[in-house]
Amino acid sequence: MTFSGRRGTVQALQEIDLSVAAGEFVALIGPSGCGKSTLLRIIADLQVPSSGTVTVAGKSAAQARLDQEYGFAFQQAGLLDWRTVRANIELPLQLHGVDGDARRRRVSELLGLVGLEDFAEHRPPQLSGGMQQRVAIARALAEKPALLLMDEPFGALDEMTRERMQDELVRITDETGAAVLFVTHSIPEAVFLADRVVVMSPRPGRISQVVEIGLGERNADTREAHEFYAAITTVREALRGRLGKGDGDGDGDGALVDSREAL
């Protein structure tokens, strides 16, 4: 691909073709500078590409955002400190004109979903990092989006909390049936959470490999299983560029983004 001549403009991402099927959990992993967060943010219309187009759910990224086709979870929770947990979760509903009763019901559902019923009237500074992320996830799910975009939401948490949050997330996404596009830099996390791990490499950012994860139903024993470690090794090798062509293919129903294998 051509290198843009203007100083300061680096081609951060090459041709990307990515699809996420309905209810599928896709993890994006790669070293720093491979553009995984950038890609996610472009999809979410939080960053505008200087050239090229993005199609999300058959629309432009901007239109998809305005139509609220997805929920976004940030790395730093992004909660409003002056609002209670309940008020934080109901923020999207409030913004989009959902009336009071419907809001209250939905928020109670969500509090139950993320297991924070006892903390509804607390304020974010009183919560631990993991709990804050749970609130953020509940908020992202408030309007039952078909797709969840998550930008390293567990990045700031310690290992034990991370594992607990991963269990929670698997349960939540199973219950809601939402598709997830999850950016992470942790290999075990990607393998545990995802149906497919998309491996990216930098300079320029591109998809180098797609690894299918066939671990089935996740439970307490998953992290001890032999298949888990095998999958981790596969992904690690892919990251190091030792594997050849990827063995994943990315077709599926309800494709949200056009797909093609890329190298």
Binding site: T9, P49, S51
Partner: protein, 332 residues
Amino acid sequence: MTGLALQPARPAWRRDARLMRGAGLLRVIVFRAGGLVAGLALLGVVWEAYKAWGPTGGAHLLGISVLPRTDDNAMPHLWTIWNVLGQQDAVGSQQTLSFGPSSSGSSGGQTVLGAIAGDCLQTFQWAAVGCVVGLLVGMGLALLLDRSRLIERAALPYLVASQTVPLVALAPILAQWDGSIKIGGWTWSNGTSIELVAAYLAFFPISIGMLRGLRSASAVQNDLFTCTAASWRQTLLRLKLPTSVPHLLPALRLAAAASVVGAIVAEISIGQGAIGAKSGIGTRIWEYSQQSDSARLYASVIAAAVLGLGVTLLVGLFDLVLYRYNRLGARD
């Protein structure tokens, strides 16, 4: 299908307000100055518009006057104020009894503009001395308060309360000190009282700003100095003073403006007696307020405003000098 070339910088919808050296700083200054000019022009338009269309006798709400009268004496036209600067300032010397013969002689041949400019310079001198004294006292106080939490807890309430004392109140009392206090060969003059009042107003923002600055080093930085067994003096010189610069500079600007206010207000309350041959812009304002020609009064008030602003900008230059220590974005 499609490639995505990206700029690594921020998208258009997110404003980037960080100051940068060189071209960036110049752009900010021009932008601000342009805004200031636009704002002042807007005010001028509102002024003249009100004069043209506002109620002549002003407006009253529940018996209290809310809008001012629009006649030419209450609200002179902007160009009248401009013109008055060229007039001769002979009026002041005759009508005011408070000035000695020497001052009336000097202002006899002066224009209003010349008189005002001279007064501003005198006020500036008094304010400058007061500001320097306030700076030294404020810094010393901050160092003292930083040294001992006990002293801080004892003294801070009084420090805060000291600023609630209306210094004009002290001024008539200070006026009595003129000529009565002698140390060595030097006699306390009214000028000294004015400098004292200016210093009084200046030391407070300095001491508060400096105290905050001395405490502003991060925990990591403090730990570093503790680990290397640095003495209090070394920590002061190499850590606390440099990190206090971003807090001291805005405080210095506040102190500069405050010292001008102090000098002017002191002049007014002391100078109703006599400051001898010297006259500052405060006395000039008082003088003109006793006369019927309001245009001169407006001119002198505007001059005082310009003085305050000029002093603040002047002190603001220190920001550039101490650029190295002024961590960008470290404003509180």
